[in-house]
Structures are given as structure tokens and as C-alpha cells.
Symmetry: C2
Subunit: 475 residues, 2 copies
């Protein structure tokens, strides 16, 4: 079986994306409409993501729990904004075995309602707070249009749900998770220079007081909302009766948050780093960090391969030897398509000259190394370089595709050339936000609270501006 | 809040069980009928189980994937035994958003159908085989009666699904998973001397050629089916068209298996080892292996606590210091209820005498240790002793409760005293199996293939016996 051909990303980005997903065997469509199957390699990336985020959450005193996947309609309805937001897109269970249910239940599209109901039963005093729980699960949303990793009827995520004794502490949690967990994970592990900020009223989560978001810019200039963190105030705690005795011995409703990131991050990883030869993975998130390809079957070649494998494993670098009967060229391409950060080629002729070759997946650069040196040190250094280079390269690209505009006309001119992030001032009115959509569907990605306004006038109506907004077209 | 009172297990075993579950905060009922919430401590035990089994599966070349949770009715119906077996107990989704679905879908009660459908699309040649995939997920079965961990409408499990080029290889897989993964896990980690064997035709999984099972005996003599491994032959591969070109270049249907263990194992863990003071956990599966309880707040006490914590952590022993303001007695009871294997008490008076006290959770034995010795070595040895003792104790109990019977009357006499495992010969006829139910609902647990018959006559009809069966009443 020859390697699958990948369309060039500059020719047809959408086709390139699905070609990469399929050639790298990350996921495939199932016979369940709108649902994907995470294949071993895609799932291995998800496991890596889970393991890093899970330990970041645990280090900051979050604990894992697991709640039911079904939500009875009456429980869902207690918070009306939430049901209104999700009702058009939930799957309803109406029958159990051969019996019609008295009350239908939906498969969770998200679990604020269930966590709220649970919390109302276990909180008594401010001494019980904060409670910071998280669950890893799938959720179902009845989407019409689907796309691998970006939008499917069922997807994989973590959802954190916390309650606190004070507003300040809850707000700090919302911010902490966004800045110290999600953003850190995007920069340090995914090598994606994502931006964070506040969602506008129109774009915030149904039921939230406010929503923070992390937005990443793809290679083609399209934005991807990649994670959110919500502050609910007392809205759910009033609807679901989550009360505690505060320090003054008075009943008070708890202050609540929720936050989540999903398998959508795999889509971001592909569309930020990968190229026409397939996947490019940052070493810190790659399920397999190195592959050794022996060229020919001379015993000294295979022995050296095994020796290097041992060296790498002793440094906790994941490694595999491809000693299948396929041709070296085929194996190189297969390693590239999977985005394995470092490829190690060992050939008889090279050995005679006393060296072997390391190949970087990100730049394709070949590095000749003394065969008797400690290869694991070379690989370690190289992986650090690759990790850094991916972030630098993506940051450069993001910056090149980040524009500023003072007028509606300027926005149109930018968007006629290249999409990207457009920074522009905004008055805060939803009419102006709505008007921006006329330009290729531009939407506010987020409000940047700490940056100076581009202009003191709204980019749409020209009236006094209050916020600096990043606009972009979205997946 | 005082520690919750636990009913004695010899007074009311069922009440004792739910008391322990609730006092140790393992899980609680949700407002979704028949569904439980895994609370942090219960989930932490499940994570420990997952991590061990996951690595055993990976070491034996199984790979994780994730399939959709929904199964369209027509896909489910292709294999008629399976739908007949599960139809009375699945949850049906009939509505997506506000639209009625053209075809209803069930939430997976198990995923043979989806895996088969997936495999039919990815297998071409014997070179692609074996494929050994596994998924960690929840499944839903519309049970009428539920019990924490033992039976609930949604539960947590792993389901492995493999296909092979030969019958022999598939059968070897069924056996390997049962003996080298499940049974090993029960003995080496859970410290539960479970028995393995073959299910009778009546008790095997719908659609399987045969089913191997692992059965554990609870403290009260009731059996718990704790995991199964199935051989399907070509049944599903014919129904779902999983074909490969064999070495003779002919199309052949693949040979298939599936196997699973679930959060039910937490129930087994409780009912085998725990006592009237709460949970007792084997050190290898305990989320927290040691707890240090400083008595009083003298600086030398706290300093020593911190020093011991460091020592333990350097040996990868999990540890926590309970320096809350509660009384020592309360803390001791709280550590006991959670089943923490080793408790370390440090008091000022003890320190003056140059020692501290270790307390084993399994025997309550107190061990005095030099305060300046390397406590981590003492704890390590103690944990090994506890792990061994729990298995020895449970094995002794299992053997005491394992009876042999040659006649129906003998079985009745045994069951009038104590339930347990009853070994008795069987002719192989389902009428005789059915007849055994008259004695307090006795069912065949499994057929032991390698043990000698107790008698050459069937325990029920007295005709020629072929199999040695272990009988028991079940959860």
C-alpha cells in the first residue's frame, strides 16, 4: 500500500486538512452520522493531551469525578438560558428498553445542570468550599455540519465545574484556568501562540456572566475557538439551590465557574503546524518522538539501532524501530506523514564513515552525528529546538496575519486579501458586531482587556469605542 | 461532622455495603434514576485500576481507540442474537434537537456491532491482522434494580475487541486476556483470589461461541461475575462482512474476540476486604497509601511529619499529612474509613521516647519504629505485608466457603447453612442447570476444565456427568 497523496495546503486547504487526518490515520468517519472514530494514533495524541492537562488540574487541586451522561428534561429546564441555548442541538432519549419514558432525558451537551444538582446536595458550609471537580467524558451536540475534530456530534473533552464562597475567588479561578492551564498548555506543549480574552455578550456561553476564551489562528488565517472558561456568578446556584452557611452564619448562594477544552485541539495542532507531507507534531505532544530506520539488514546496522533505542529509552524518549520489509523511501514518508519529530537513519555506508543521520520533521534538515556519540543527548537537544522552532514559526505567522484597522473600509480591504486576526476598536453595541458579519462572516473572537485601543472610535459606527476587539472568521 | 456510623457486616451485609460506600465517599446516587456519581475517592480508585490494566493491555500490543456512543438500529440488528439479548435493556435516542430521527439509535450497551462495522472497512489482508483495539468508556443498560458499583444504568468499563487471521490465535487471545491480564490483576493488585472458567451455554454472552469468566467470592458467600472474555468465531465477521485475503489469496472471514472489566470491580474490592470500620484497600490499588497524623502542633512533630513525607515521596509512596484541626481520634477513624493502608502517628510524647507509630489498616496492628530510621523502608515492607496478607486472608476465606457436593440434597444442606462456591458435577443439560435455581437461585458460575470431577454423576439428575461446575448465588 503506497502512502496516500496529500493535496497541497496552498491549493485547497480544506482538502489538505482531511487528507492529513486520513493519511496520518488520526480518525475516520463512522457509520453513525456525524460521529467520528478516534483511531489509535489520534487517540494516542488525545491521551497525551489528557495526561498533561490532567496533571496540571490535579496540581492546582482539582479532582476528577464522573457524572451520568443523561440529564432528565426537568433538571435541564431549571436554568432557562441553558436549555434555550442547547435545546436545538441535544439528542433525546425517550425510550428505555421497550418502554416509553415518563420523562425524556438528553445526552449531556455539557454538565452544568448535573454538577449544580450534585453540588446542591453536598455543600453545607463555607468550610466545604471551594469544590473544584473535573470530568473527562464525551458530550453530544446534534450538529448539522461536521468536520473531523472541529465539529462532530460527539466529541471528547474535559469539563471543570467549581463552586466558591466568594465572587473574587470564583473569578480568580476562571482566570487561573485560562491563563495558567490552557494558555500555558497551548504555548508550552502544543507550541501554539493562542490569544486569550473576553467573549462579547453575544458570543459568551448561554447562562454565563462572562466567558474567557482561547483563540488560535490556523495556517489559512481562520480562527479556532479552542477552549473557554466561564463565570456564572450565582445564576446556577440560585436555580439549583446551592447554598452554604458563610462565615457570618448566613445562607449564601455559591459562586460558580466551568471550563473546558476538547479533542478540537487536535484540529488546531494539525492546522497550525502541519505541511504538505503530513502531520508535524511538537515533541512534547508526539505519541512517538523518534523513529529509527535501519537501511538494509546488516547486523551492525541493526545492532546500532537497538543500542540507540536503549539510549533513548533510558532518557524517556519514546522510540520505535521500523524494521519492516518496506523500502527506506516508503518508511521516510510514513514517518513524515505521522509527524514523528526526529527520524534516525542508519545505513551501512554511513556507518563505514562513522556516522548516522538525524532528520528533523519540522525543517527537514539533516544532521550528521558521530555514530559512537551519545545519540540521546543529540536527540534531546534537537527535540528542544523543534519544540521552540514550532512556536517561533507559528508566532511569526500569527503576527504576520494579525492586522489593525480603524475603519470598516480598512477591514474590508484586509479581508479582500488575507483573512487573519483583525484588531479594531468597538463601541460595545451588538448592531456593530452584527454588521461586521457582512464581511465574510467576521465575528468578534475576544476583547483584549490589557491592550490599548487602536482608535478611540468604533470601527463600524465611528462612535466612542470602549473595547479593543480581535475579529476573525471562524471554524 | 462526625464520622458516619457503619452497620456491622455480620448484622446486615447489604446495609454494611452501602454504609461503607457512603462513608468512604466512593459514589452517591444522582437525580438521574439508576445512575451513580463517582465521587473523587471512588474515581481515584477507578483511575488506579485503569492505569494498571491499560498498561497491561498496551504491553500486550493492544491499542486504544474511541468509537461513537450511539448505534443506529439497523447496525445493531445485523447480528440478531445480540439485539435479542440487549433489546430489553437499551436506551433509545429517537429525537435530535427538535426533529424526530428517521432511524432510532441506542446508546451502546456494548460495542461489538460498532467495532465489527469499523473493522469491515479497514481490513484487507492477513498482513493487517491481528487488530487488537480497546476502548475505555461508559455503557448504558436499562436495569430495573440497581446497586452502587454492582449494577447501575450507566457504568465505566474497558471493552477490548480483536480480530485475527486464525481461530487458534483468536482463542489464544481470549485465554490470554483472562489468565494473564484479568486474573493476574485480581491476584496481584486487587488481592482477590478470583476463579476463572468457562460459562455454560445458558450463561454465556449473547452471540458468543463461548465465554470465559472471572468470578470472585464476596465476604458473605455471594459470587460476583467480575469480567468476561468472549470468543465469537466468525459470527460477527459474517454478519458485518469482515473479510481478509489469507495467505492462500482467498477471502476469509476474520476470527473475533471481545473482553471487558468494569467499575463493578470496586464493589468486589469492598465486599472482599473491607470491615466494620470501613474500606480496606490493597496498597497497590489505594489512591493514597499512607497518611501521617501529627498529634498536637509542636514544631518537632510537624517537622518530622514533613521529613517523613519527603522520604516516602522519594520512594514513590503516596502520602498526605492530616494537619487539620480535628481531634486525633477523628482523624484515625477518617483514615480507617478510607482504607488507607498505613497510618503514621507522630506524637510529642512518643518523640521524647524516640519513636513513632505505624498502624496497619488490615490488622490494626501497631508497630513502633525508631524516629530516626528510614521510615520509607519500614513502610515499604509493611505495604508488601499488607498486600500479601489481604490475598492470603481472602484465599483462606474463599477456601473455607468452597464446598463440594455429590447430590442435590447435599447442595441444599450446604446452602441451608452458608452460601459459597459449590463444586459439583453436571451432565451438561440445561434442565439440570435450571433445577439448581430452586435452591436459593443457585446458578452455574463457571465450568472448571482442568479439575477432576467430584463425582461421575450429575448432581441433579444422577446421569453421566461431563463437567465440573462451580455453582453460586450471584449479585
Amino acid at each position: 500500500m503506497a502512502n496516500q497523496k496529500i493535496t497541497s495546503r496552498n491549493v485547497d486547504f480544506a482538502k489538505w486538512y482531511t487528507d492529513v487526518v486520513s493519511a496520518a490515520k488520526l480518525c475516520c468517519y463512522s457509520n453513525v452520522k456525524g460521529c467520528i472514530i478516534l483511531e489509535p494514533y489520534g487517540y494516542a495524541i488525545w491521551e497525551k493531551m489528557q495526561s498533561v492537562i490532567d496533571s496540571m488540574l490535579k496540581q492546582s487541586n482539582h479532582q476528577n469525578v464522573a457524572l451520568p451522561m443523561l440529564i432528565p428534561e426537568n433538571l435541564m429546564k431549571k436554568e432557562s438560558d441553558l436549555i434555550n441555548g442547547f435545546a436545538p442541538e441535544v439528542a433525546w432519549v425517550t425510550q428505555g428498553g421497550s418502554e416509553k419514558l415518563d420523562e425524556k432525558m438528553c445526552i449531556r451537551p455539557t454538565s452544568e445542570t448535573l454538577f449544580s444538582d450534585y453540588y446542591s446536595g453536598i455543600v453545607k458550609s463555607y468550610r466545604d468550599l471551594p469544590i473544584k471537580y473535573n470530568q473527562w467524558c464525551t458530550v453530544v451536540r446534534w450538529e448539522k455540519e461536521t468536520r473531523p475534530f472541529l465539529r462532530s456530534r460527539e466529541f471528547w473533552w474535559q469539563e471543570g465545574h467549581t463552586i466558591h464562597a466568594t465572587k473574587e475567588e470564583a473569578m480568580e479561578e476562571v482566570n487561573f484556568v485560562m491563563e495558567n492551564i490552557y494558555k500555558k498548555f497551548f504555548y508550552d506543549y502544543l507550541a501554539i501562540p493562542a490569544i486569550t480574552g473576553l467573549k462579547t455578550e453575544k458570543e459568551k456561553f448561554a447562562g454565563a456572566d462572562y466567558t474567557l476564551t482561547i483563540e488560535a489562528l490556523m495556517y489559512n488565517g481562520v480562527s479556532l475557538q479552542s477552549g473557554t472558561s466561564h463565570y456564572f456568578g450565582q445564576r446556577f446556584s440560585k436555580a439549583y439551590d446551592i447554598k452554604f452557611l458563610n462565615k457570618n452564619n448566613e445562607w449564601e448562594n455559591a459562586y460558580q465557574t466551568s471550563f473546558g477544552v476538547s479533542s478540537r485541539m487536535i484540529g488546531a495542532l494539525i492546522m497550525v503546524h502541519s505541511d504538505d507531507d503530513g502531520l508535524v507534531l511538537p515533541p512534547k505532544i508526539a505519541p512517538l518522538q523518534t523513529i529509527i530506520i535501519p537501511i538494509g539488514s546488516a547486523p551492525e546496522v541493526l545492532n546500532l539501532a537497538l543500542k540507540i533505542k536503549d539510549q533513548l529509552e533510558s532518557k524517556n524518549i519514546s522510540v520505535s524501530i521500523d524494521d519492516s520489509s518496506k523500502s527506506p523511501g516508503f518508511k521516510f514518508a510514513a514517518a513524515e506523514v505521522k509527524g514523528i519529530p526526529v527520524r534516525i537513519e542508519i545505513g551501512s555506508r554511513d556507518l563505514e564513515n562513522g556516522h548516522i543521520t538525524l532528520v528533523r520533521r519540522d525543517t527537514k534538515e539533516k544532521i550528521t552525528v558521530e555514530k559512537d556519540s551519545d545519540i540521546s543527548l543529540e536527540v534531546q537537544t534537537l527535540m528542544e529546538k523543534i519544540q521552540t522552532n514550532l512556536l517561533t514559526r507559528a508566532t511569526k505567522r500569527r503576527d504576520e496575519m494579525t492586522y489593525t484597522a480603524k475603519t470598516f473600509k480598512e477591514v474590508q480591504e484586509i479581508m479582500d486579501k488575507n483573512p487573519g486576526f483583525i484588531k479594531a476598536s468597538w463601541c460595545g453595541k451588538s448592531e456593530c458586531e452584527e454588521k461586521m458579519k457582512e464581511i465574510k462572516g467576521l465575528k468578534s473572537r475576544c476583547i483584549l482587556k490589557d491592550e490599548k485601543l487602536i482608535s478611540d472610535k468604533c470601527v463600524v459606527c465611528g462612535k466612542e469605542a470602549h473595547d479593543l476587539v480581535v475579529w476573525g472568521i471562524q471554524y
